[in-house]
Amino acid sequence: MIELISQFLASPVMREAIAPSIFISVVAASMSVMVMAHRLSFLTVGVSHASLAGLGLATTLALPLLPTATVFAVVIALLLALMPKQKGISEDAGTGMLFAGSMALGIILISSAGNAQIDLFGLLFGNILTISPADLLWLNILGSLILIVLFLAARAWWSIAFDAVTADASGLPVSSLRLLLYGMVGLTVILCVKLAGIVLTAGLMVLPAACAWLWGRSLLSLWFLAISFSLLGTLSGLLWSYAHDWPAGASVVLALCGCFIISWGASWLKARVQ
């Protein structure tokens, strides 16, 4: 095991992937607490799949991939935030429609572009091992922005998740803060797509908080636990990927699922003992 870890750390490909993976996992885990609190798991699935249309647009119009996908994801997330206000359309139905429509548009745009350079497997399932310097810069800018906004708005978001009516009556601008949250979820999705891909992004944005939820007793403890579980899942997933030559994103998500099962089992045992 020690030999495997030293080989893993000595590998130039893995050495380059570890730092961005850790950064992505910290940002995703931090936002995952708010995703859980506001029940936005399906939104993350919807936005990540919808980002395929953004990537398709970027391919067709020869625009930079990540920035275009970022703008598209934020627009989709904000549309979803505003949609429940329209009568008769629930949030999950709206997410389902935009998710399917955008994905269909993305597939048609990408297939029409006929660009053999596009790594479709990487887009769908992530490929952190081939991160370019331009991607890295974009991820650092996005991640830092998300962490700053999260630091400033976390308590307000938490307060709204706990009791939106009282938060509104306390003088918090609930509608604006909700829009900001959806926008940040959109940005985080794009951040995660590089590591876990369009299909598996929801895993990074739900599983860390789901593990932490069984143990945390406050916002701070949840945040700390979610980051710890996320780092454990990411590093063991990358190690697993290196050892068996498995796709990195899928390995990370599978490791996080393992963390959740262990966490849930331990929590169940603790409850039985007490």
């Binding site: 609190a37 400033l152 009516v165 009282t166 009556a169 306390s170 939820w213 949840l222």
Partner: protein, 262 residues
């Protein structure tokens, strides 16, 4: 005469042909404890929401602390208001300590750059509702009555000038109800805080409040302490099938009548 804490003028909510509330006029001075009673669907909760700026009136206006409540100033005016509503379906999903729940009532809770210690204020508020010993407990594991007392502490922690309570005694036993009404009476007298409280049971609140407004779309009557509520007002609110029973001499509204023995 000092500026009223709240003044409601010609308020209407809902379509003019079939309003939920209409012709509502009320003035609330500092230290006044107002009870609002009325049947289900009378518009009691809607009235509280209008005063708290959560809903926009279709006609008329609300003045709070001498300023007209509008979309632009509501956030600053609401900082002086404590609010307790009836819907608490979502809050049990989040892991929270009791003290954290109360902290949410502080005006600067959402501002991480203001890291001032407020533990004294939180403990004081919990002490008012006799929940200070459970400050570190998990909010989700409390009983319904205990949770309601924590919510009341959350509304009180900011030391509001106006407290809006929508059936605060709903989850409380009769002893706790009585203690709550006594506490509100004391805070009105000692701090000058004003209270508007929606309740179903006029008998439970009548010996504590300064006045009772009888609401069913309109305010049918606004009875001050010691004043009798005419029987036709009760019938206008609840219909003809009610029996009116007098409690004691301090009870607002309950005067002995020929129906006492019903």
């Amino acid at each position: 005469m000092s500026t009223p804490v709240a003044q409601i003028t010609n308020l209407r909510f809902g379509p003019a042909s079939k309003p939920v509330l209409a012709d509502i006029n009320l003035t609330l001075e500092a230290g006044h404890f107002l009870g609002i009673v009325g049947p289900n669907g009378a518009g009691k909760t809607t009235l509280l929401n209008l005063i708290a700026g959560l809903t926009q009136a279709d006609e008329g206006y609300v003045d709070l602390f001498g300023k007209r409540l509008s979309h632009f100033n509501r956030h600053s005016l609401l900082k002086h208001i404590g609010f307790l509503h009836q819907l608490h379906d979502h809050e049990l999903r989040l892991p929270m300590r009791v003290s954290n729940v109360v902290a949410m009532g502080l005006n600067d809770y959402a501002m991480p750059w203001k890291r001032a210690q407020h533990s004294d204020k939180i403990i004081q508020a919990l002490n008012l509702v006799e929940m200070d010993e459970l400050a570190d407990s998990d909010f989700r594991h409390l009983s319904g009555g205990q949770r309601q007392r924590v919510r009341i502490a959350r509304a009180l922690v900011r030391k509001p000038l106006l407290l809006l309570l929508d059936e605060p005694s709903a989850a409380l036993d009769s002893v706790r109800q009585e203690r709550l009404f006594q506490l509100l009476r004391r805070l009105c007298d000692e701090t000058g805080m004003s209270v508007i409280m929606v309740e179903h049971d006029i008998a439970a609140i009548s010996s504590h409040v300064d006045s009772v407004a009888c609401l069913n779309r309109n305010i049918h009557h606004h009875a001050m302490r010691g004043e009798e509520i005419p029987e036709d007002v009760w019938r206008a609110m609840y219909g003809d099938h009610i029996h009116i029973i007098a409690h004691d001499a301090h009870c607002i509204g309950c005067a002995p009548s020929e129906h006492n023995n019903d």
